[in-house]
Amino acid sequence: MTLNMLKAGRTATVKGIYSKDTERRRMVDLGILPGTLIENVMASPLGDPVAYRIRSAVIALRREQAELIEVEEEG
């Protein structure tokens, strides 16, 4: 599944990043790497962007960014 499918309050592990070039670099700089834990903290009123907890900082990602991050939900 991809990160945009993760429900509020749930946590997942990053498996891979599909974005390219600067977008990919951006994701890595935000601390998103294979193995990183990401929690969906809450959605904005319109549902996009969504706030995620990544390496103990809360960071908002837009849907089209989250769609390019492959994750596996934690049991």
Binding site: R25, D29, G31
Partner: protein, 273 residues
């Protein structure tokens, strides 16, 4: 004993050793001896430190991204005048948003004499990304390990000596909001700016000959085009990586044009307390 440890020990002399000689000059930033940049991730306390050192009232808040342009102030220490530049928070020097580009350009091309990287002690892993990127481009850096009070509340202990040794630059633990560590930070800034402290920062080594040759060739060409460009190696790496904003800056010959440190027009209006 490493140089880093020396700096820390000096910093820990009887409290009040530096603040006693500190004169907060507010916005009188003309004719400085040294330029000090405050960089770091968003919301790590850069503006709080800026206010503590200059006596100014740069806006401080508890959400990310408040400082959106550079703010400048000044202080004197040990008879020298320091200009202090408060930069917007950034996670990286590589993939920057517009706000972050202000910080990136200043750290890269503004030729600060000292770059203080403010790191959040409660989120060290995340913050070290930018620390390492900045150490790639300058050896005149100090790491201010801020929010150490919060870290203590969360039972996080940071071994600042090991960190200073591994990074090769002074590391100062601080709780800027209550003024803790300000003296030690001033001590480290003074030592690095005067050259008394010689940093040996941690650098990533590229072992690939082809890559090294490409970097050298490009860096030489860049030096030909952009006279006294600092960090030509860094720029060469970005070109090899295909960084569009850097490619564009090279093509339009605008690379590094912020270096005069006072070219940026309107600064945030600050009010002295």
């Amino acid at each position: 004993m490493s140089h880093a440890e020396t700096a820390i020990q000096c910093g820990s002399c009887a409290s009040g050793c530096n603040t006693a000689h500190l004169a907060k000059l507010g916005i009188k930033t003309g004719n400085w001896d040294y330029v000090v940049a405050l960089a770091g991730n968003p919301n790590t306390g850069k503006s709080t430190i800026f206010n503590a050192l200059t006596g100014l009232n740069q806006h401080v808040g508890n959400w990310a991204g408040k400082t959106v342009t550079r703010a400048e102030g000044a202080f004197t220490l040990g008879g020298k005048k320091f200009k202090l530049v408060d930069l917007p928070g950034t996670y990286s020097l590589l993939s920057t948003s517009v706000d972050e580009e202000i910080a990136r350009d200043f750290v890269l091309f503004g030729k600060p004499d000292v770059t203080v990287v403010v790191a959040d002690a409660t989120r060290l892993e995340r913050n070290l990304n930018l620390v390492l990127q900045i150490l790639e481009i300058t050896d005149r850096a100090v790491v201010a390990l801020n929010l150490i009070d919060e870290a203590g509340r969360n039972n996080i202990k940071v071994d600042e000596r090991s960190l200073a040794r591994d990074l090769g630059v002074p590391v100062v633990s601080m709780a800027a909001r209550s003024g803790k560590g300000v003296d030690e930070l001033l001590g480290a800034i003074e030592q690095v700016s005067s050259g008394e402290f010689q940093a040996r920062p941690h650098r990533i080594k590229y072992t690939d000959d082809i890559l090294e040759n490409a970097i050298d060739t490009l860096a030489t060409q860049l030096h030909g085009q952009f006279e006294d460009l600092p960090n030509a190696r860094w720029v060469a790496l970005r070109l090899l990586e295909g960084d569009e904003s850097i490619i564009n800056a090279v093509q339009t010959a605008t690379l590094g044009t912020v270096r005069a440190a006072n070219v940026f027009p309107p600064l945030v209006q600050l009010e002295a307390r």
